[in-house]
């Protein structure tokens, strides 16, 4: 039987070979869906530790990206045994890079960390018009909208998106977080978002606090 503590520590330590070996052994042991869910949780706890190490300054962005890749691989291995009974989600996030901006590295780091923290993330992709955010928010009714951007033009696109969400009468039901290179406190106020960050781990923490 897999030792969940060892697994969590291996994820936390970014020990790729060990994590994959443990998971492959586990999948071959014909586990139940319940056991598989426990293993997923153990991986997610490892990811949470990675986030903590990032916040304490021990890990860096490269480590977060590697951890995200590791988790993706882990879930791919576990897919056949997880079954359809998905675990309880803590909240829903609609996420996207705003109109005119084609960058996605930061957005993807945030997504993998938010998913690891138990959020259901609907990722619209890059270069998304305000209307695309509005339509997805109407469809999904998320708790949070996350907007990402790297270029300076993203500030205006973010503002337009917030304005469109307000015009559609959706603003009061959601929290909005913006992230990426150009965002600052001043930009956050100008855009009308609830929070800003240039740090994916901090962003996920803000989202968790909103949900609690």
């Amino acid at each position: 039987m897999i030792d969940l503590k060892v697994l969590t520590e291996a994820v936390e330590g970014l020990e790729e070979d060990k994590v994959l070996e443990l998971l492959n052994e586990f999948v071959n042991s014909n586990p139940s869906e319940r056991e598989a869910q426990d293993v997923v949780s153990a991986c997610q706890q490892g990811m949470a530790k990675v986030g903590e190490l990032f916040e304490s300054g021990e890990y860096f962005i490269g480590d977060l990206i590697f951890a995200g890749e590791l988790l993706t691989q882990a879930l791919d291995i576990l897919k056949p045994v997880i079954g359809s009974g998905s675990s309880v989600k803590v909240g829903k996030i609609v996420l996207g890079t705003v109109e005119g901006d084609l960058h996605d590295i930061g957005k993807n780091i945030f997504r993998s960390m938010a998913e690891a923290a138990g959020f259901e993330v609907y990722d619209l992709g890059i270069d998304q018009k305000p209307q695309a955010f509005v339509a997805k928010v109407q469809e999904i009714q998320p708790d949070i909208v996350g907007m990402s951007g790297v270029l300076t033009l993203a500030l205006e696109s973010m503002k337009k998106t917030v304005d469109e969400l307000s015009n559609a009468g959706l603003r009061d039901n959601i929290k909005i977080i913006i992230g990426g290179n150009p965002v600052t406190e001043q930009a956050c106020q100008y855009i009308g978002a609830d929070a800003y960050t240039t740090n994916a781990a901090e962003g996920v923490k803000i989202c968790r606090n909103w949900i609690q």
Partner: protein, 452 residues
Amino acid sequence: MVLDAKQLFEQRLGRYQAAIALETADRIPIAPPMNYLAEIYSGSNHQQNVYDPEKLLAAEMAFIEAFPETDVLRSNRIWGPMCDVLDLRTYSLPGRELPPTGQFQFREEEYMKADEYDLLINNPAEFMIGTLIPRLFGEMGKGSSRSHFALLKAGLAQGMRNEILRNRNYQLETRCGMPQAGLGGFIAPFDVLADALRGLKGALLDTYRQPDKVIEACQVLTPIMARFALAGADPLKRYPIVVPTHKPCFLSPKQFDTFYWPSFKAILEILISSGYKVRILLEGDWSRHWHHLLELPKGSLICDIDDKSDIFQAKEEIGHHHCIAGGISNTMFIIGNPSDIDERVKLLCETVGKNGGFILSGACLIPYETKPENYKAMVDAVMKYGWYDKDFEPKPKQAPTVENVRLPKGCLTPWEVKKEELGGVLGEEDLIRIPWETIEEMAFNWLWSWSW
């Protein structure tokens, strides 16, 4: 006294060079490494700027007329037709796949596979032309006639582009007295890997999974990028060589020390030994890494501080050794107001600018969305607070007399191989060999212009 273009040029260049040399001239120079506001100043859209060099030049001239206190100018290197003849996949261009008002953007993908390091390490030219280039250029996948024709057109277009740049710089110098912020550029070997070869994610995963290959590839890329930088640099050595640094902000100090710095430092040393200054755009937060810059000779670098780092901390930690540039954040230019700018410039002049070695700029650039009244407020504030000595007349420095460091030549087909194919030559060999090697090297350098 009204200065003519030559006098203005010398005054601006002298002011710029004094700051780089950690000296004080008459005042703090206003010298951003890239000025996007200038590109759109006469109202042309992004597509027009990327496709029509005359519109770009007209915009920059209008900008200089409006803000003559600006000391240098340098605009973007993208020329749309050059990308189109190749169907370049690494950039999205305004008016092509983006709206005419959109901004050109780099498209990072995993163009090189994780198991292809040995191809790059063993034969960089063969790797580029045989493996990477066909993935970067859409035209290469449309049959041999289209592929050959695309490369022929690219060679011709490159000549046109060089002429456009030469003409632009000449016009700005002789008609407006405007020097360049830099001439020639390159990127660090790790950035080559993490931009157009493996992409950030691929390169970072490689640092965990095959660290030795990453280090070896960076070593192979060192002379390649040094040659590339020298090939495009100012032959008169008046202007610095510019290097944006794309990925250090994603690296831990250990990763930076292991994978980024050794090969980057080696290139900087080659360029500095060749008599050049290097303007480094320290993108993102470099504060964990910038102590390394003290390993290079005093006054050899201009360090552009991004708005993710603290310029006051930069001044304290590295500003005693190298010139610091920056000070106004993107947000302040875009959504701030003139009084914010005035206050900020005053503070900068009183602190980081105090004893020279400071260039006023944005965070590695002046954003497209800058409110012109904010740029004006910055200029006006320098005229209020930025003087060292109003009677001082800045003059350019004597060009360094050192020769460029000799590097092994880059090529696909060495002369010895060609000579063998010819069965030897009957006449004077050097008359045939030297042009062969020169053109081989030009073509080799050209290949690497697509690596970022």
